[in-house]
């Protein structure tokens, strides 16, 4: 019997697992409240929810004093991190923000995206600050026993990268490489997350050494089968379920095809099932649980 943590380690190492590994990048309190019928959500409620869904991963997100200001590492709160790490069998991921996330939040979308053309020095400074924060933060998280780090940075949208590969390779990729080297050096697994279509820089992410990718959105042109064929031995692919899958799975034929595809992906190893978006209010949780239970 594989405990959850071992199942995820096996998936990351592209080894066979006894059932499909599952994880959600984020779980909104409203979904937990609705499912459990509880008034507030704390550690116990989240634990019950994660158990009920049969997840193997718990993802912890930071609370910032002011999300529009890059904080000092010590000012960031990781709710119940020590309990999740010490008292539960789940693989624990900490989700940390990348340069795009901080850039958009601190400067605004337009100003951040025009920074490479208008103020490259400011961009270089921002990259340096985020990099220093993430490296320091990851060291502290590793010290507290976290199993993995996800650098979450929405560098793309459904049509492709938000900014061209030339700028990506001049500013962002080298910083990701430096972050990866230092974070992986702490002995934790390192994944990358972005929404949208980031196919164009996947070879760069592999060269850096990322062990996995989260958010494989077919509707944005990220075909999980093609990705698995091209990079399956190098990357653990996590995600693939979209809201359209949940809606269409009401049809028994689609439902069965979906299960078959998931099992096929899992049989090739290096796969974690999850939604691309995380669990937010309005999601068809009943259908998702049905998929999770049925797929084994």
């Amino acid at each position: 019997m594989y405990p959850s943590k071992d199942r995820i380690f096996a998936a990351i190492r592209h080894r066979p697992v006894n059932r499909v590994p599952k994880g959600e990048l984020c779980i909104d309190d409203a979904v937990v409240k609705q499912e459990l019928g509880c008034g507030s959500v704390g550690f116990e409620e989240r634990l019950e929810f994660v158990d009920r869904l049969g997840l193997d991963i718990i993802c912890l997100s930071p609370s910032y004093p002011d999300p529009r200001v890059i904080p000092e590492p010590g000012d960031i709160v990781w709710e119940d991190l020590d309990r999740w790490v010490a008292d539960t069998p789940f693989f624990s991921f900490a989700v940390i923000d990348g340069v795009f996330g901080w850039g958009v939040r601190t400067l605004g979308f337009k100003e951040f995206l025009t920074l490479p053309a208008r103020s490259p020095l400011s961009l270089a400074d921002l990259v340096k600050k985020v990099e220093a924060l993430n490296v320091e933060l990851s060291g502290r998280l590793a010290g507290r026993g976290i199993d993995g780090i996800i650098i979450a940075d929405d560098i793309a949208y459904n049509r492709g990268l938000l900014t061209g590969p030339k700028i990506m390779r001049e500013y962002f990729i080298p910083s990701l490489a430096r972050q990866f080297e230092k974070i992986a050096g702490k002995g934790v697994s390192v994944f990358f997350h972005s929404d949208g279509n980031y196919n164009e820089i996947i070879p760069d992410l592999i060269r850096i050494g990322f062990q996995g990718l989260h958010c494989i959105d077919r509707n944005s042109g990220m075909d999980v089968f093609k990705l698995q064929q091209a990079y399956g031995e190098k990357l653990c692919l996590w995600g693939t379920l979209g809201s359209d899958d949940l809606a269409r799975a009401a049809d028994p034929v689609y439902f069965n095809d979906l299960l078959e595809n998931i099992r096929l992906l899992n049989s090739r190893n290096g796969f974690i099932l999850g939604t691309n978006s995380g669990l937010f209010k309005g999601i068809d949780l009943g259908r998702l649980i049905e998929i999770y239970k049925s797929v084994g």
């Binding site: 337009k110 025009t114 459904n158 990268l161 938000l162």
Partner: protein, 213 residues
């Protein structure tokens, strides 16, 4: 050289584009001529984006450069009465934040006397309807760049029908991707891919409305 500004805009060379605009104004070119050259440059940016040469950040950069151009040329547009001209509701459809095309057309319409109520970007269908009801405007201009937002334009036209306003409001679509098929799909009345054509359409609609009064 007539193409220098077009090239600077297309190459996203902000410094050169703004310097050229100032030079051209000094040399006696009209604000309209300068905006038209910038529009052509922006059109090339749009093409390069469609071909995968440019990225979203490049589109945004071109909008920003154009915004800077408009700040320079706006005082040089002939100002006509705008408060009492034909009312037009203008906005970029929900899900789309691109306002370059909308801003060009809005400037041009105001410069020839239309009273344009600009709702901005990412405008939900319901807000267009609310603005029409509140202002009594009978012309609606909807701008779009991202094709996946086309469905929301159809929703605007459907809402006009549902609220009994459809026969009183002329709907004009504007933007790089719009065409006859999209006009028919959404149920709009007219479409224009460039600002000059858009201006002509709005003038024609206004004339026809005046004749019917």
């Amino acid at each position: 050289m007539k193409d220098d500004l077009i090239i600077a805009m297309a190459d996203l060379d902000e410094e050169r584009a703004l310097a050229l605009v100032k030079e051209k104004l000094k040399a006696g070119e009209t604000a309209f001529e300068i905006v038209e050259q910038c529009r052509k440059g922006v059109e090339i940016v749009g093409q390069r984006y469609s071909e995968g040469i440019y990225y979203l950040s490049d589109l945004i950069m071109s909008e920003e450069i154009f915004r800077g151009v408009m700040e320079i040329v706006e005082p040089h547009f002939p100002q006509e009465i705008t408060e009492h001209g034909t009312k037009i509701i203008m906005g970029t459809i929900e899900g789309d934040i691109h306002d370059l095309g909308k801003n060009i057309v809005t400037y041009l319409l105001r410069s020839v006397g239309f009273n344009v109520i600009d709702l901005g970007v990412d405008v939900p269908p319901e807000r267009f309807i609310k603005a029409i009801k509140e202002t009594g405007a009978s012309i609606l201009g909807i701008c779009v760049l991202l094709t996946f937002c086309i469905g929301s334009i159809k929703k605007v036209v459907d809402l006009l029908k549902e609220t009994g306003l459809r026969d009183d409001v002329v709907v004009v679509l504007g933007g790089y991707p719009v065409n006859q098929l999209i006009k028919e799909y959404t149920g709009a009345d007219y479409y224009a891919n460039d600002a000059a054509r858009g201006l002509e359409i709005f003038k024609q609609i206004s004339l026809e409305k005046d004749k019917r009064r």
